[in-house]
Amino acid sequence: MTATATILPNRTRRNLTIAKAMAEAIAQEMRRDDSVLVLGEDIAALGGVFGNTRGLLDEFGPARVRDTPISETGFIGAAVGMAAVGLRPVVELMFVDFFGVCMDAIYNLAAKNCYFSGGQSPVPLVLMTSVGGGYGDAGQHSQCLYGTFAHLPGMKVVVPSNAHDAKGLMIRAIRDDNPVIFMFHKALQGMGWLGTVQGSITDVPEDAYEIPFGQAAICRAGNDICIVSLGAGVHLALDAAQSLGEEGIAAEVVDLRTLVPLDRATIIASTAKTGRLLVVDEDYQSFGVSGEIIASVVESGVALKAPPRRIAFPDIPIPFSPALEHPALPSAAKIVATARQIVRAGR
């Protein structure tokens, strides 16, 4: 049930967590290209709060693996400057929720310098940042904010759902000449203390490889309904598709993998095939990813057997209490119930 486990011939599986896959991708790029360096809070000796830079300090030393002060505006701005003169910084913003203290450096600098300079000054920078809730960390440490970043032009936005994709997308991101926001979901990261969705641990080839941006993955085929999701939502959708399958509803599950660029063609083709669409997004519902996907499908003019639906986080700050947070989050049960309604409505 993995999105894109490619097992090459003559090779046994090697399973990794997303944290380890990200660290391996960065290490391989640092070996290949001296201009790649990593900066952020607690990314050196600690190896990143979420484990995605573990081992890099030992191999590459403190000049290329730099712990920063808690100065996000300063060091993300500095990364833009490094990129302007030929380095390829990989920067960590520990939780995406902290974007509030540094968004200017991200969307007014990193995202616009290429355009403002008429292409003279591209910004090859990766900003990796953790997203997602469900573990009781409350409203300043649990958001996804996919739509916030995808809305603003000039940044590519990547959201892996499994280790295989995380490695290939990270390598692609580092080689990209543009700012790439690499959003990794905490529930998939493979840190025991955050729990780990088993499906995120996948086979990861040793060699460096790229996953192109703008290519969604169809991680389960089906003819009755298209369920589009990203990040942790993909695993909920796969679980739901399994249950739906048992009651005779064949769901197709599309893992977006990148929001910018967005693979509208795959979404539209899948919806055209099934005639039904359900979008699952852990980000806030209004003005975001789910609306964009539904709009794209409707604009394409494909024939729908039932109105498209979405399951997203309601338009409220994320509450702390599990009694409040859990019912507000997308779940496999919600997906099953909604998909069933869509399929019945469209018969």
């Binding site: 002060p69 960390d137 409350a138 409220i316 009694a323």
Partner: protein, 326 residues
């Protein structure tokens, strides 16, 4: 300025209360988190930042404040909340995510708000400084003798909001005191690695305000320096900055294995509570019987808060949609 015997006993008992509270919280936090330590599980999910070792900062400062004074704290708020007089029962219930919590379970441990005593805190580094400057400026505008205090960690002194807020406080001559709890670590990053000057009180000069450094995690010295700064603010003489040397006796949060901490560093730190107890016994302000009574009383208050919190009902899911707007 030295604490009166009554103030000493309040300071000591408040430190003890805070410590017992956090011991009970830590025990509850570990429930359901073994054998696999998964933050999502147990009666208290999420991150949990304890303040054990840092209690002197809270009591030495809050001894000079009353309910009308405005305090902002950090992700590590319990000791300050307790010293500021936050409702212990409602705070415990909030940390357990219950309907009877200060915020009905919406905020949790990093978002303790008690408007009745003008206390709030948040999880973004240095975020409380702007609001403290603003509240202080409002008090000044209205000719009230109230002050504001913003507690931050030493790691926050490198955040933009720190520098912007100090400058604002100075040009507006706001009755605000910035208190830096310098526990030497910002998660895994040592102060020396992150900060270009050894002491942050030196930075006060750059903003035209007095800066003080208090060594030794010493409640008496903190009381004296904070007392002078708060009196100065109340008298309309402007803002100050105080950096207090304190100790993080545990990990950054519960679950932090602290592999980055040099061997022996933590073991060399002294626990301020037994230290203060010995001092007060020596001064004759406390005797073993009074110590027992103070401790028992603190323990009873904490145990009542924790058991009420455990027994309280969870909010119903629909309540998540309430209070988004006033």
């Amino acid at each position: 300025m030295r604490p009166s015997p009554k103030q000493w006993l309040w300071m000591y008992q408040t430190m003890v209360k805070s410590r017992i509270f956090e011991e009970r919280i830590a025990a509850a936090y570990f429930e359901g988190k073994s054998p696999v330590f998964n933050m999502a599980n147990g009666p208290i999910p999420g991150e949990m930042h304890l303040s054990n070792g840092q209690e002197p900062c809270a009591v030495g400062v809050c001894a000079h404040l009353d309910a009308g004074d405005f305090v902002t704290a950090t992700h590590r708020p319990h000791h300050i909340a307790i010293a500021k007089g936050v409702d212990l029962d409602a705070m415990a219930a909030e940390i357990f995510g219950k309907a009877t919590g200060l915020s009905g379970g919406r905020g949790g441990h990093m978002h303790i708000f008690d408007a009745a005593v003008n206390f709030c805190c948040s999880g973004i580094i240095a975020q409380g400084m702007g609001p403290a400057v603003g509240a202080a400026t409002a008090f000044k505008l209205r000719n009230e003798r109230r002050v504001a205090v913003s507690f931050i960690g030493e790691g926050a002194a490198n955040q933009g909001a720190f520098h912007e807020s100090l400058n604002l406080a100075a040009i507006w001559q706001a009755p605000v005191v910035i208190v830096i709890e310098d526990n030497a670590w910002g998660i895994s990053v040592a102060k020396a690695q992150s900060t270009a000057v050894p002491q942050n009180d030196a930075r006060a000069a750059a903003y035209g305000m007095p800066g003080h450094r208090v060594a030794g995690n010493d409640p008496e010295a903190i009381f004296a320096v904070a007392g002078a700064a708060i009196a100065r603010a109340r008298a309309g003489e402007g803002p100050s900055l105080i950096e207090i040397e304190t100790h993080r006796l545990a990990g950054h949060f519960i679950g932090d294995a602290e592999g980055y901490r040099p061997k022996g560093e933590k073991e060399a730190l002294t626990d301020p509570i037994p230290q203060l107890r010995a001092k007060l016994l020596g001064l004759g302000i406390l005797d073993p019987t009074a110590d027992r009574a103070l401790t028992d009383e603190a323990e009873a208050l904490v145990d009542r808060a924790i058991s009420k919190a455990r027994a309280a009902a969870y909010p119903v899911p629909e309540q998540a949609y309430e209070k988004v707007f006033a």
